[in-house]
């Protein structure tokens, strides 16, 4: 008789357990695609001109600079080895007695994530593609003008006065590329 009672109790428990069949489910997935994107803010043409303005006679510091552009970017990547590259293209090589450089400052506080480190690169046609901002992981810089991202400073100077001569104007395209 005890066996009968045990069987009945087991049946009772199974009947209660039947409530578990009240559920149904489905699979839900999201796929996050890796990518990188850059934007120059505000962008537009940059003119650097060595015209002697503000030069004191006898001065060797003939240069011009421009720093109103900021580069802003968003990355979703694995690790922190992504970078923003810079490349100069144009019809005529930069004269050897001129130095054209671009500096990407340390990324500003806006945004979040691993925004990498800026550097200074000398721009020539021969230099090809160069890594300007390195060590980038998943991040975003923000999009506010003049405060978010990395400030870009172009500088044009004479490195060999003995070779300098009136030349130009030369026109170049500077291309920034996000490399995830």
């Amino acid at each position: 008789m005890k066996r009968v009672v045990l069987v009945l109790v087991a049946s009772l428990l199974l009947a209660l357990g039947g409530a578990a069949f009240a559920a149904d489910n489905h699979t839900l997935s999201i796929e996050v695609v890796g990518f990188g994107a850059v934007n120059l803010n505000p962008g537009g043409a940059v003119t650097l001109q060595l015209d002697g303005t503000s030069v004191t006679g006898g001065d060797n510091a003939v240069s011009d600079s421009h720093n109103t552009n900021w580069i802003q970017y968003t990355f979703i990547v694995s690790g922190s080895t992504s970078h923003v590259d810079v490349q100069l293209t144009g019809a005529t090589e930069v004269p050897a007695w001129l130095t054209l450089q671009v500096t990407a400052a340390a990324p500003a506080a806006g945004g979040a994530g691993t925004k990498g480190s800026g550097s200074t690169k000398t721009l020539t046609l021969a230099a090809g593609t160069q890594q300007l901002i390195t060590g980038i992981g998943s991040c975003y810089t923000g999009t506010t003008a003049s405060t978010d991202g990395s400030q870009l400073t172009y500088n044009l100077s004479i490195n060999a006065f003995g070779s300098a001569a009136p030349v130009g104007p030369y026109s170049y395209t500077v291309t920034y590329t996000a490399v995830p």
Partner: protein, 160 residues
């Protein structure tokens, strides 16, 4: 002993009665697959931006939105929602809702409900009619993400 057996048999009969003619059952229809692309990240195509909230309008794949159909059970019934403990996108909240206005037979709409491993009552219904639901994500921030697919199983349970 006969008395004991009679009592147990009586209990077996009484329990299904107490729970209704049959335990309630739910049926879920539709899949939900969402690919977060660069376009999804930046509707304005502006680099430097973070995610906007990704709403169901960005659902891709087949079958969305999802339908929850109570197939058996005597109203009023509650439908709760939960998910498994699979690794999920860091910092991202999975939210489910009935698109307002809720049907008239919904007695209580707790939308939006954040779906977690713990079952949360989603809505109480006075009907076994199917309800169309939508998912959305919030808290998505690019610095927390890496390129990969996150998958979870969402369970809807009808209960009294």
């Amino acid at each position: 002993m006969r008395t004991l057996i009679a009592m147990l048999l009586g209990t077996l009969v009484a329990i299904p009665t107490a729970f209704g003619a049959a335990p309630p059952k739910t049926k879920v229809s539709g899949t939900w697959d969402l690919t977060l692309t660069a376009a999804d990240l930046n509707p304005a195509n502006t680099a430097g931006a973070n995610f906007p909230s990704i709403f169901s309008s960005l659902v891709s794949g087949s079958g969305g939105p999802i339908t929850v159909d109570i197939q058996t059970g005597t109203p009023p019934l509650w439908v709760s929602v939960s998910r498994d403990t699979a690794t999920w996108a860091p910092g991202v909240a999975l939210i489910v809702r009935i698109q307002p206005p809720a049907p008239a037979w919904i007695l209580t709409d707790n939308s939006p409900v954040t779906v977690t491993a713990a079952a949360t009552d989603f809505y109480q219904t006075n009907s076994t009619n199917a309800v169309t639901i939508y998912y959305e994500l919030s808290g998505v921030s690019v610095e927390n993400l890496t390129p990969q697919t996150y998958t979870t199983i969402v369970t809807f349970t009808a209960h009294y």
